[in-house]
């Protein structure tokens, strides 16, 4: 069995940044395992611009953002294996992988960084009744067909879900000659950025039908149309409002799920809310020496934050190899009153240099409310927010100084408050 110091599963934005972080902290022996035939992950098919504003202070396209990190990995001579699928990881950090060249291989790592990203929720996850005909794709699959392979999956298109990927694909299909008839959204508001609603839908006069859903799929071999309906306040379809839309393609943009089947095999404990591992301030999971970062941990809306988080995971994996331990738990971070989850779940203030970014999402749209952070019942942070939406991840930096103020703190609570 070949041994390595750090093995990173996934060569997308998280894996690349984690590798760079580990090397910057002095680790020589690193290996990235990537299942696709190139590095960069999903960024390669995200050809639109708007990436990297925080990191590089300019707007890059997905491939350009990926290239900056791939080039750095190449410059640092960090080894990677492409076309390599990891099929097992256990808690002793033995990784089983397979590729055409090596066959089935077993590798042992001192530290593992989970960076497998997330995948799209499919039709089966939302239970749309009707026939099992061709012409129904996830938005990301359609994006790969159009942007990487160069063919259109259909002509008359309806998109279910108004998250950013759905909006981006509405524009993309239109530019390539498709007729995008509508974007259907179950909630009373779009899950995507305002900029995308304006530039992907309004620019092309594509209607956004809020509080609507698809109630039936029509077609034998190929999709011929869908029935949509308005939903009431309990998100139940209203029969009288049903409307038929003829179309040959339905794209689903109905959410992303962290891809953690491998993590579970290694006995990594997952959060019921995010679907990702429960980690501490150092991004270590409950299994000593296994770290997680990027969309496998929780779904981010900006790749810049994925890179920032992943560099930290890489550096901590390096510190672990150099003898540091991250197992002691001091403070538990809990969320309530509108805040759905936060990462990390546990904080040991001793492991914080300068500050730590606590990232979280709210469960509803809130206007003119406050984000409050309590240290054992003392409200230490109270920030007014003009708007909070589930589509925007919030980040609050907790400084070393705050933790010094509460040396005996056992619990931090994050909530949305009116006053």
């Amino acid at each position: 069995m070949v041994e390595h110091e750090v093995i990173i599963i996934g060569g997308g934005p998280a894996g690349l940044a984690a590798a760079i972080g580990a090397r910057e902290e002095g680790i020589e022996d690193i290996l990235i395992l990537e299942r696709d035939n190139n590095l960069g992950g999903i960024l390669n098919q995200c050809i639109h611009n708007g990436f990297g504003l925080h990191t590089f202070k300019e707007e890059l396209t997905g491939p350009e953002y990926a290239k900056r990190f791939v080039e750095k990995v190449e410059e640092m001579h960090i080894p990677y294996k492409l076309n390599t699928m990891v099929i097992d990881v256990n808690k002793d950090k033995v990784i089983t992988a397979v590729n055409e060249e090596d066959g089935v291989i077993e590798l042992k790592a001192k530290a593992v960084i989970l960076a497998m990203g997330c995948r799209e929720r499919p039709r089966g996850a939302i239970h749309i009744p009707g026939s099992r005909c061709a012409g129904i794709y996830t938005a990301g699959a359609a994006q790969k067909f159009v942007n990487i392979d160069g063919f259109m999956p259909g002509r008359d298109v309806v998109i279910l879900g108004s998250g950013d990927i759905g909006l981006i694909m509405a524009r993309r299909m239109t530019l390539e000659g498709g007729n995008v008839k509508a974007v259907i959204e179950l909630l009373p508001y779009s899950g995507g950025l305002k900029r995308n609603v304006v530039q992907c839908l309004d620019d092309f006069n594509i209607p956004l039908k809020l509080s609507h859903t698809v109630v039936k799929i029509h077609g034998q071999d190929r999709l011929t149309g869908i029935t949509i309906a308005k939903v009431d306040e309990n998100r139940k379809p209203v029969k009288e409002s049903e409307e038929y839309i003829p179309c040959d393609t339905l794209l689903l943009s109905v959410g992303l799920i962290p891809e953690n089947e491998l993590s579970e095999k290694a006995d990594v404990e997952l959060s019921g809310v995010t679907g990702g591992p429960i980690v501490n301030e150092s991004l270590q999971t409950n299994v000593t020496g296994i770290f997680a970062c990027g969309n496998v941990l929780h779904v981010h809306d900006l790749v810049d934050y994925v890179s920032e988080e992943s560099i930290l995971a890489g550096k901590n994996a390096a510190r672990y190899i150099n003898g540091k331990t991250f197992d002691e738990v001091f403070i538990e971070v809990n969320t309530c009153d509108g805040v759905r989850y936060c990462v990390p779940k546990f904080i040991n203030p001793e492991n914080i240099t300068k500050s730590i970014s606590v990232r979280f999402r709210v469960g509803d749209v809130y206007k003119d409310k406050y984000i409050s952070i309590y240290f054992d019942g003392h409200r230490e942070i109270h920030i007014k927010k003009r708007i909070l939406t589930p589509g925007e991840m919030e980040t609050i930096k907790l400084t070393e100084a705050i933790f010094k103020k509460y040396p005996t703190c056992k619990e931090i609570t994050i909530k949305v408050e009116g006053e």
């Binding site: 390669n44 707007e59 997905g62 159009v146 942007n147 392979d149 160069g150 939406t389």
Partner: protein
């Protein structure tokens, strides 16, 4: 002649509804903004709306079928269709490097379309 336009501000997630009053294509008044970003956006959007266009172009003899491209600067919004028509049917030969000019002065905009990724030659 006075004309009223309603647009959504893209400056932040609030998405203020802006009501712009135009007279002979000149902005006379902007209502509904909560910060200066909104007012600036409304004026730009009503007098000279521009966008970065991103798309793909076919590749001959490359390791992938398509190369991703973008306009190196903003182009007028009403030129998007013309630009797409110009790159449709186009095929470029690998190898291609990110930054290579794929189309110069696309649709008479004085803006070039460049590649945003490398496509090595298929050997």
């Amino acid at each position: 002649m006075e004309e009223k336009k309603e647009i959504t501000c893209i400056g932040c997630p609030i998405g203020c509804m802006l009501e712009v009053t135009l007279e002979y294509n000149e902005v006379k008044d902007v209502k509904g903004y909560t910060c200066l970003k909104g007012k600036t956006y409304a004026i730009k959007e009503c007098t000279n709306p521009t966008r970065i266009l991103t798309s793909t172009v076919k590749v001959k003899n490359g390791t992938t079928n398509m190369v991703s491209v973008k306009t190196i600067q903003d182009i007028p919004k009403d030129k998007i269709k013309e630009c797409m028509d110009e790159i449709k049917g186009l095929a470029v030969k690998a190898p291609i490097h990110a930054g290579d000019i794929i189309v110069s002065n696309v649709a008479g905009t004085m803006v070039d379309i460049i590649a945003t990724k490398d496509v090595p030659e298929h050997l």
